[in-house]
Symmetry: D2
Subunit: 263 residues, 4 copies
């Protein structure tokens, strides 16, 4: 597939460029950034052996290069209008920005369907994290007693993590409500039993040396089931991006969420 | 549901009796064993507050008591003929013995379908273990690099465990073949890299104090995904038995394998 | 060694009897209980192959049987007076009850030293748990960033567990004070960051199927160190009791705490 | 302390320079390399704000700068002669190269003692890994049933890892010999039970995404004890280097092995 990367100078876009170059069935045909000073990617030391045009204007790039798919990692502000432009040109799109409203998604899906092309928006391309959440959701149907331990580096400001809350939400949809722990349990030191979400408990560990980790622990009479995801590096998102690019060839609609293409 | 338990003096059958007594929507209406000396379960000290007839003949029990479902934990030898008798009497059956041939399963399924009743045969009723295997199979599609560590008490004779091999088989069906490890890796001490199964590696730990545990560890650039099941006690099988009994009401065929009713 | 067991009908005492019988170098010479109806342990079905006298009076037992060591698992009330009686008879003692005052310990130690015999009082005979606490204390000197996760069955009423608090106390003695986590971290759901003890965090998980488990997780730039203890059964205390009995032969004083004989 | 770094252009030496700059009580007073083209470290872009002389000759540096301590990360070939030169100048030394013979160590220790200065040679500065090995050695005395699982990235060629074998050696010194597993256990697939070392078993997991990890799992009746070290980055060695530099001030001899200064 002939792939263009929009936002190629950002941290994620930069990884996407390297991923497209590495994957045998993907070809890098153009890159795009806001007011670039380069004309060709070879002007960047790291890519001096390549010959790929750099564009500052999305429509011009789409009309000139005619890629099979555009991968867009820009900002919530321009993500929506970029995707609209891409789809209206009849080109497949994989977008990694957040902040789309339901109305915007509905509108974009209608365009994708009228053009009969595939598109995917995902706030999270970590296949492993998405599988962890899916598995947790399924297990919660059979094991309503569950606690989450999420572990991050100690610079992280918010607790619990967004992934932990999302996991708890997904489990709550599928789980018989139980308020966990003994009915008359007592916290000798406040906070020992963690954060409560729909009767489940979430514990946030913060330590130097850690990156982003989560354990979902289910307990039942005589058994336990644990699902753990460890994320060390943003490179972990790239297999999800490559998977999404390939998947757009099979689709004639817009999908929201990586979980909906993991079958 | 009105439930009868066949093989009620065996270790599993005994747990099933207690489970049926504990679950509010299940009623124990009869128990069966080979040449029992008791006429009523109340003659057994543990159950002296109950009033449940004991039978030595399956057909007699089915015709007299007319249960909604029979749970059978006997031996591979009699499991097949018991199930046939139960189904021919138009009674639902949950059978926990192994050793059925494909032909026997086909024959029994035909009877269940002609009688329009549900039936289930399962070699393993541990919901947690079955979920672990299902999750591992799904993840193997996206993460072909995977190793299994199974840990058991040190009286266990065979290594790897049956569950580990079953898990590896299920993953192999869904996984791109990769021979794992460095191409030129060297074992300085023989066996360090474990048992090989289709390019995957299985490691068997045996220690006193352990019961039955398994970890399936997936690795990819920048991330890891681990699924672990801990089994401490055969009571862990009972939620799977109760689930199966209830499920037979919804079915009009015979299902082989607990995994096929976990949706 | 010729060993007598005081409080042999209690849950712990009963395990001690079985342990003394199992260990080749220990011989069971007498058992003691409050107003026993048996004269000999053989009157108890489980021990019908033995021939060991049962006593109701400690002094009588000490004078008649002259054991090398008495193991006492009774109650805090009588533990002190029992130990005093035993030591005054010049007999070694291992006592597993809690509630001794510092004055009582000083007094008993003086008796042991004047008689030149060994004695040991321990609130906890789980060698593994004591090692975990010792290791955690030592590691805290080099890794001041540490969190504790303790996991127990969901009938446990208090959180954090006594062992978790004891571990934190021992680490605090040896650890440079740090208030962990980001200075401006925010709990989006109250309790997410757990209980605080001297700047460290303790998280209490409660799930069915669990028994008593604890993880102490240290984090530093580029590395992590984790110490975990799993306790499944009170039988785990018995190796500590046997170790203590043997150790009294080498001592000419009273030791408080199993940790002080683990060198 | 006034510290000089020898081999400052190597990967470890470079980290040591950054560590000395970061630690408030350490001052970088000189750096040394083989035939350097720079005269001052400020000629290197990363360090352009500093003013530290670069030397190509060790004796000249020692005589001109008179540091309190030299940290040397060079090669086994020059490590010995460098250390000898440093000590003979009456300067403390911390050396991170391997390959010293016992005779060389004895000779160097004699010099350190005659000069009444501290020195340390260590093949491994990872405090966490050293603590793991110490704890494992101690626990092996009480828990002779133990298995090691070491997990590394899948480019690693040798299995088991050097750390795993070193850990097993240290445990063997302190452990009652037991051949683990059931006497008549059978490997259904060869290698399942791992590598054998003195009756203990070692399992080597190799997966992409992993760095360097090790678990030592002890099992006994009713309990388990696990010690795990995770190493993500060579920065993890730096706290051990800083600790060693400070320790040389307290010593009047040469110590071999970081474990001997962790009290």
């Amino acid at each position: 597939m002939r792939v263009a990367v929009s936002g190629f100078k950002g941290r994620m876009g930069h990884e996407v460029v390297k991923t497209v170059l590495r994957e045998a069935d993907l070809e890098l045909v153009a890159v795009l950034d806001h007011e670039p000073k380069e004309k060709n990617i070879r002007e960047i030391a790291e890519f001096n052996a390549l010959d790929v045009p750099v564009y500052g204007n999305l429509s011009e790039m789409l009309e000139t290069v005619k890629p099979d798919c555009v991968v867009d990692f820009t900002t919530p502000k321009v993500g929506y209008s970029n995707m609209k432009t891409i789809l209206e040109h009849g080109v497949r799109a994989v977008v990694g920005t957040t902040g789309f409203t339901p109305e915007q998604i509905t509108e974009l899906r209608a365009i994708a369907e009228s053009k009969k092309i595939g598109a995917l928006i995902a706030p999270n391309f970590a296949v492993g994290a998405v599988l962890m959440m899916q598995f947790a959701q399924k297990a919660a149907k059979y094991f309503p007693n569950v606690e989450i331990i999420e572990l991050h580096h100690d610079n992280k400001l918010d607790a619990p993590s967004g992934t932990a809350v999302k996991t708890a939400e997904m489990m709550a949809e599928n789980r018989e409500f139980i308020k966990q722990g003994a009915a008359d349990e007592v916290e000798l030191i406040e906070g020992a039993r963690g954060a409560e979400y729909e009767g489940m408990r979430i514990h946030s560990v913060r330590l130097p040396g850690l990156v982003a980790h989560q354990e979902v622990i289910f307990g039942a009479e005589g058994q336990g089931l644990t699902i753990r995801h460890d994320s060390y590096d943003r490179i972990s998102f790239m297999s999800g991006v490559a998977l999404s690019v390939r998947k757009t060839k099979e689709l004639e609609t817009l999908i929201y969420g990586l979980e909906n293409i993991l079958d």
